[in-house]
Symmetry: C2
């Protein structure tokens, strides 16, 4: 019975397609491997087949409102083409949206295809059904290999002029810091991403002062942010220091965002957010010191704000006599945030 | 004939009150000295007398829509009280808006009084009638003793959750930098304000490497940012270096704003913006290096964008095939920006 839309999450490993009702109920999810090596057209074909399969199946019950497609890259919203797609060879300057619309034959029934950056749809997903449900103005920082970002204002993605708003990962937080692939030095993603954790661990190992990290790195074939987190949780001081540094830099980045945007909620997602226990105390300390706006609106116990139930979050954000608090909390939806957000973006575009 | 509103700019030196038509035509402006020493009630009395004088005079010709009052401090928008007013002793936690409404007896005719931060109304003024006329989404940085900021989205001030959005001056741009009155270190206003120029000059003088600056400081009773600018324009290398440093830090701050917000225009105002010729080249260089978003959207000759006529600015911002440029430019209205913006805010509130 319900109207529904389809969300697509095109990741480096998986291509996921979900049919979601207008109320946010998952109808069905399909997960395929992303076969980028077989070329752009193959991936688009698989995607279109899956969208058609799902839309056909549920069209008997409700109206198909459209498909939102979250992709890793910068999108030109006017043309529906990708301006920049480092990990999708052949996708740049190709009319992705028009091609998908053509193959789906959507024009006739008014359904829309929307192409959107993966971090922006993840923000919308957390706002619609995740940590920020009921919070109109919020941002998400997705801490993975890099830092993805998305801003939601009034329940919609804030794109800025060219769809590039939310590039938090390339905000300078250390003017003379590490070089970044973008051409700048000291970008946030050089200090507060999963890759940054591994780099800091390698530096600690090279200094000869981190024996347990060195042992883990040489014995564990899958040595990465997770192994370093485990050592930190076991009390290894060099590993703990890495997460304190990570938290301080993340706090510095957040302090800037809070001062500039004064949003109700900032949600921390992505793989590296699972190390929350290790980095959150120093993140909140830095935030309080570095943001006048945060200091004036911080909850009494910010570390607890992550465990608020949905009802409590909503009431903490309601108009309680001008005493609204700035909440920094963990994402709730994991990798599904992008999938739900992509489904939502198709509905908002109708 | 025209409907009109009244804008008030309560500065440390002058109290200015203007009647402005809904189309932005100045009807009349009154400038009084701000007699803060005589106390809050005296200042509010003078303000109300002037508002009543002007509104009475023009009410014969058009409807009085309300008064907007720009004040130096943080406002609680719900209550119309000032949360923080460092330079207005006795104004904090006093019902300023309610008191002015009471004295004006406005309730009966539906006109509104709006209390607003001075930097936010200056942003709205530049958007309405100044450098960003016709540009819906923009920000203003007011470089004075500190750095004031304001963000306009969709032609309205973006307040954020508590009216604190736009605190650009306290964004950290040098993590281990100079202490700031806010409790943080390395805030932008420690590096890119008029006070920062003077501090850098004092440091250069103390180093013994800036003979002309030293001479000016000892002979010129009014030694300040203006004298340092004059020396820089005369080719004095230590003075030039100060403005290059100023420009780099301002560029670093702007790069962050551009990456986060992706707005169409950033307007630089305030006293220190008159040194544009001295700092703009290094500001643009830094911006291009530090912001992927700016580098992808920079005009071919950014230094020229300041001299665009209004028509050209408007067309540079129109939908020219997704090729819209990020414009960084000088404010046009000087200290009148706040006065016009205050008048505008009263109209938008109707």
């Amino acid at each position: 019975m319900p109207d529904f839309s389809i969300g697509v999450d095109l990741g480096g490993t998986n291509l996921r397609i979900a049919a979601v009702s207008g109320e946010g109920q998952l109808l069905e999810k399909v997960t395929l491997g992303t076969k980028l090596a077989l070329g752009r057209d193959h991936v688009i074909n698989e995607m279109c087949d899956a969208i058609q399969g799902l839309s056909g199946k549920y069209e008997a019950a409700g109206r198909f409102l459209g498909a939102g497609i979250g992709v890793p890259g910068l999108i030109d919203l006017q043309t529906g083409m990708m301006r920049k797609a480092v990990n999708l060879p052949g996708w740049e300057n190709y009319p992705v949206r028009a091609e998908i619309e053509r193959r789906l034959g959507l024009a006739k029934n008014g359904a829309r295809v929307v192409l959107e950056n993966d971090a922006r749809v993840a923000a919308l997903g957390e706002q619609w059904l995740g940590a920020a449900r009921g919070v109109a103005n919020m941002a998400v920082l997705t801490l993975g290999t890099g830092i993805g970002g998305g801003i939601v204002l009034g329940g919609k993605i804030w794109h800025g002029m060219n769809g590039m708003a939310g590039e938090f990962g390339h905000v300078t937080i250390e003017p003379e810091g590490h070089p970044c692939g973008c051409g700048n030095r000291g970008c946030a993603e050089q200090y507060a991403s999963a890759s940054a954790i591994v780099r800091m661990a390698r530096e600690a190992i090279a200094s000869g002062q981190a024996p347990l990290l060195a042992k883990a790195a040489s014995s564990d074939a899958e040595f990465g942010a997770k192994s370093i987190y485990n050592l930190a949780m076991q009390g290894d001081e060099p590993a703990r220091r890495i997460f304190r540094s990570f938290g301080r830099y993340l706090g510095l980045l957040l302090a800037g965002l809070v001062n500039v945007l004064n949003l109700e909620m900032y949600v921390i997602g992505g793989g590296a957010s699972s190390a929350w226990d290790a980095f959150a105390p120093s993140m909140f300390e830095e935030l309080r010191q570095r943001s006048v706006v945060y200091a004036g609106t911080a909850p009494a116990d910010p570390l607890k704000s992550e465990s608020l139930g949905k009802h409590e979050v909503a009431s903490a954000h309601s108009e309680s006599r001008g005493e609204r608090k700035t909440i920094i909390t963990r994402a709730l939806l994991g990798s599904d945030a992008g999938l739900y957000g992509a489904a939502r973006v198709a509905v908002l575009a109708v």
